[in-house]
């Protein structure tokens, strides 16, 4: 403790940290029956930091070419000390990060925290979710194994269906007409340079907004929150957040040791696709829905219609701070609560359905 104090004095003398420290000392977090939800944003951030660290470690041994990628991952898993651990943690943490992000987003949605004056936080948050899924999609290809190769091919085919710019988008993503070593190099560039740069900007913005504006209290909890004394951010909330992070760390370690991540077979572009190609679980609900649609709806190709519907839904979701007029006025907004629950049930239901086997062929 004494060491910490001395360090603080050293920096404060030079950087005038005192106003910031004062601000932090007075920062409070409201207490009510939904306060538990406040931890999930930080949890997603924790998993993201784990990703950055484990990703940098993997970068020391990974080789991003079609010929060497698979072998380099295998090398990491068999020869490098604790390589199996770093790789499994990286794969699991990716999934846990996206899961935490989804929980965070849905809890924010149900609490209507997106409403005025926190629209910017919601919008940066939506972009962060999209970026995370971009990280997931680009990272999935990097081991260059069979499942990843074909999942990427199918996924980029879907993007190809976008009207007008579909062709351009496909070539931009794939680095050519088909999924090849050029695609791998490009995805690697996205995954370790472009996306990190962009996401850092948005994470900083998102955190700044949250820190600046403080926590939103849902309408239904306002009375309770008024009665109970708020929690100090430093050190009370931070200690609790640390508790949640350590639980996350324990979960990661357990998953890595008891359910190590598979490597599978090296990709062979000339082989036919294996029987059950599936994207990663966070895309499964879309994948399964598209399978459900008939070949043609209103003269439009079924899959295109589905993708269009998802695009529209995403757009509406993005603009919910503007659309939810009741919340903007500070009133309860039961309609949007129902919409939120419907979305949760639909997405989790379709995901579980797909994991259980999905539709028969």
């Amino acid at each position: 403790m004494a060491l910490v104090q001395r360090a603080y004095k050293f920096l404060d003398e030079r950087l005038q940290l005192e106003p910031l420290a004062e601000y932090a000392r007075h920062k409070e977090v409201p207490r009510h029956r939904y306060s538990w939800a406040y931890f999930f944003g930080g949890l997603a951030l924790f998993f993201f930091v784990v990703q950055v660290c484990s990703g940098i470690l993997l970068l020391l041994y990974y080789r991003p070419t079609a010929e060497a990628a698979f072998d380099s991952v295998q090398f990491i898993m068999t020869r490098v000390r604790f390589g199996w651990l770093v790789r499994s943690i990286h794969s699991w943490s990716a999934n846990l990060m996206i899961l935490a992000a989804f929980v965070h987003m849905f809890s924010v949605f149900l609490m209507k925290s997106y409403t005025r004056p926190r629209e910017l936080t919601w919008w940066t948050g939506c972009i962060l979710l999209a970026l995370s899924m971009g990280f997931g999609f680009s990272g999935y290809l990097l081991p260059w194994n069979e499942l990843a190769f074909f999942a990427t091919r199918v996924g980029t085919e879907m993007i190809h269906k976008t009207p007008l710019i579909g062709d351009w988008l496909l070539r931009f993503l794939r680095g050519g007409d088909d999924v090849t070593g050029a695609t791998l190099t490009r995805f690697f560039g996205f995954h370790v340079a472009v996306l990190p740069m962009v996401i850092t900007f948005f994470v900083v913005a998102h955190l700044l907004f949250v820190q600046r504006q403080g926590m939103h209290i849902p309408v239904s909890a306002q009375a309770e929150s008024g009665r109970r004394p708020a929690m100090r951010f430093v050190p009370n909330f931070m200690l609790r957040e640390l508790l949640v992070w350590l639980i996350g760390l324990a979960l990661l370690a357990a998953l890595a040791a008891f359910l190590p991540w598979d490597l599978g077979q090296k990709a062979d572009p000339f082989a036919s696709a294996p029987a059950n190609i599936k994207p990663e679980w966070y895309f499964l609900f879309m994948f399964e829905t598209l399978k459900l649609l008939p070949a043609h709806i209103f003269d439009v190709e079924g899959e295109l219609f589905g993708l269009g519907a998802f695009g529209l839904a995403a757009l509406l979701w993005f603009f919910v701070p503007v659309l939810d007029w009741r919340a903007r006025k500070g009133e309860r907004s039961p309609l949007f609560t129902v919409i939120g629950w419907l979305a949760i049930v639909y997405i989790s239901g379709m995901t579980l359905f797909s994991l259980a086997g999905g539709l028969p062929k």
Partner: protein, 150 residues
């Protein structure tokens, strides 16, 4: 009484602070230890499935062959009568038996069903339907390195 409570309180507080610091430090160490071991490179610096030390010049007289391990599969290293080296997979393209070099015939032979490949690895007689995949050979000092792919 109150002083005792206070004294107890501050001892307790110090204990809790110490306990927290120590356990967090232990957790930090249990994270840093694997990271530290990870960044030190292993003895075999490169993936063995792309480049393998197949033998030494001393082991390979002219017109001889040797079966060695390439990754998890057998491979064949041949030294031609003129001193050049060739390397192929040793898995016969017919039914998977391990082929060998026949110095008397200067051809590659599969003992299972009498299949023959020439020194380019091309199947010439017998059941094998396809040629043998060829590997690249590089010789530095006394060592013979065999590699595959780009």
């Amino acid at each position: 009484m109150e002083q005792q409570l206070q004294a107890n309180g501050s001892t307790r507080r110090r204990f809790v602070e110490w306990f927290l610091g120590t356990t967090l430090g232990a957790v930090a160490l249990s994270v840093l230890y694997p990271v530290f071991r990870f960044v030190i490179p292993p003895e075999v610096a490169e993936s063995a499935t792309n480049r393998v030390l197949a033998g030494t010049l001393a082991q390979m007289p002219s017109n001889s062959g040797k079966v060695f391990r390439f990754g998890s599969k057998p491979a064949l290293l041949i030294r031609l009568p003129n001193g050049d080296f060739r390397a192929f997979t040793a898995i016969c393209t017919h039914l998977g038996c391990t082929v060998e070099y026949r110095p008397d015939l200067q051809e590659i032979w599969c003992p299972c069903h009498n299949g023959f490949y020439n020194l380019q690895g091309v199947n010439v007689t017998g059941p094998p339907p396809r040629p043998l995949e060829q590997y690249t050979v590089a010789v530095t000092d006394d060592k013979i390195w065999v590699s595959r792919g780009a």
